[in-house]
Amino acid sequence: MDTIKGAVDFILGLGPSIMLPIILTILGLLFGQKLGKSFRAGLTVGVGFVGINLVIELLSGSLGPAAQALVHRLGLNLDVLDVGWPIGAAIAFGTPVAPILIVLILILNVVLLATNLTKTMDIDLWNYWHFIFAGSVAYYKFDSMFMGLLVGCITAVIIFKLADWTAPAAEHHFGLPGVSFPHTESVNFAPLMYALNKVEDKIPGFNKLNANPETIQKRFGIFGEPIMMGVILGIILGILGGYDLAGILDLGIKLAAVLVILPRMVSLLMEGLMPISEGSREFIQKRFPGKEIYIGLDAAVVVGHPAAMAISLIMVPITILLAAALPYNRMLPFADLAGICYVTVWAVAASRGNIVRGIVNSIITMAIIFFVGTDLAGLTTTMGKAVGFNFPEGATMISGIDLGGHIIPWMMIKILDFKDKAGMLLGLGAAVVYGLLWFWVRNDIKKQFATEIAEKEEVAE
């Protein structure tokens, strides 16, 4: 027994860049892939981790001191770095919860499909990282594998139900029939967004407003280009932080470099996950031939929708202002400014693409995210260090906009933390409000698309 435990501890202690190639090779074989292919895929992920670590050093070495300078010079208490969802995903895949949860949630999905408790077939293995993130937050919070797996699985069940519920919007608003989006940090905002839309319907005057997405895209297009956004943010932060000219320019080019290089490193993780991703897709799909299901996909396939794109661009400057204005926020928005589109998908879909409502809904989404993101910063930092990423010693904490969008897991770990009574009440209160709002709008999506659904049924007859 001791030797097994010793061996497991040894492998975990090696860190994800060595552990993941081993685990992914085994998982690949488990899903019926060839040894050579599985091993190469595992190595690719390991290499990706080494690459991500290099970018993190660049990121924390440049943005970290800039955040400190903001604290000292302007008294802005923004000492939590937004490292972005790509690093969040890497951290999640690097935790000990990850390999177990991947297999567990696949099986859970098959069971839920077989018992008709969900129609969503989640073949998007990459985005299992959101469930793994939920599970690993609980794992480190409670120092318990059981709690980690429990929170990961419950999150997955709720997200599958939300994906089922929003599937008519995927078909009729986004034009993708037979598809749903079990994409945690997007879809967990859907009930809140449909509730806001219901309220907005009743506000005289406001309920008639709209704006043109094309104009916004043209005017704010620059915020869609990471390289430009990095330079601009770096220069602004350098000026605010009281850097000299050389320092300002240096920060600009380094932040641009982070935003350009990071996606390439993280795409290595995706490349390496492809064999088990395909293996798991076949594993589920061949079990349910001919069954009426929704194929669960990444919300990335709809964020290019004109209204969604316009909102994600105009929200860049608004998000930065919000970060400074919200008194409870400690997060300095950065890497996820390029990923706002994911958390605001339903802010604009709930209003069927109405831009004015989309902006209002997105602002409320962000206000929630800054609260949750700040609250989760301590745990996220612990996790990042545990998987071996080199954050600078001492003051700086990490979190992210996308990570702060995990409101369902956040509620769960608040409720389950019996030691913190105030936090428990907060979590319970949030869960009750969330549940009531979802119940209140439960028929709204079908109502929004009543004409389209009726037409489809006529054709079917």
Partner: protein, 96 residues
């Protein structure tokens, strides 16, 4: 035959575009076509698209001028791959 330049886009240029880029690369290699494939995020497309022969995207993209566009989710969902492959070959002006 001239080298084909293909831009592959998705939400962040990280996940779904990696799947598509790999599949398109495999496809063109198997046909002996020399190809340059670049990944990007949807919002970058307007500033990058000049000089590319084809845009393959998993997410809707507005105005890209005269460059032909193939929107596909089949490489990710596993359904309808053949049709999208035919479309890519046709829009690149290759023989079947």
């Amino acid at each position: 035959m001239a080298k084909k330049k293909i831009l592959v886009a998705c939400g962040s240029g990280i996940a779904t575009s990696t799947v598509v880029a790999n599949k398109v690369k495999e496809l063109l290699n198997s046909k002996g076509v020399d190809a340059h494939i670049q990944q990007c995020k949807a919002a970058e497309v307007p500033s990058l698209i000049d000089g590319f022969d084809l845009l393959v995207t998993t997410t809707p993209i507005g105005d890209v001028g005269n460059v032909p566009v193939v929107r596909t989710i089949s490489f990710i969902s596993g359904i309808g791959i053949e049709k999208d492959i035919e479309l890519i070959i046709e829009k690149l002006g290759l023989e079947k």
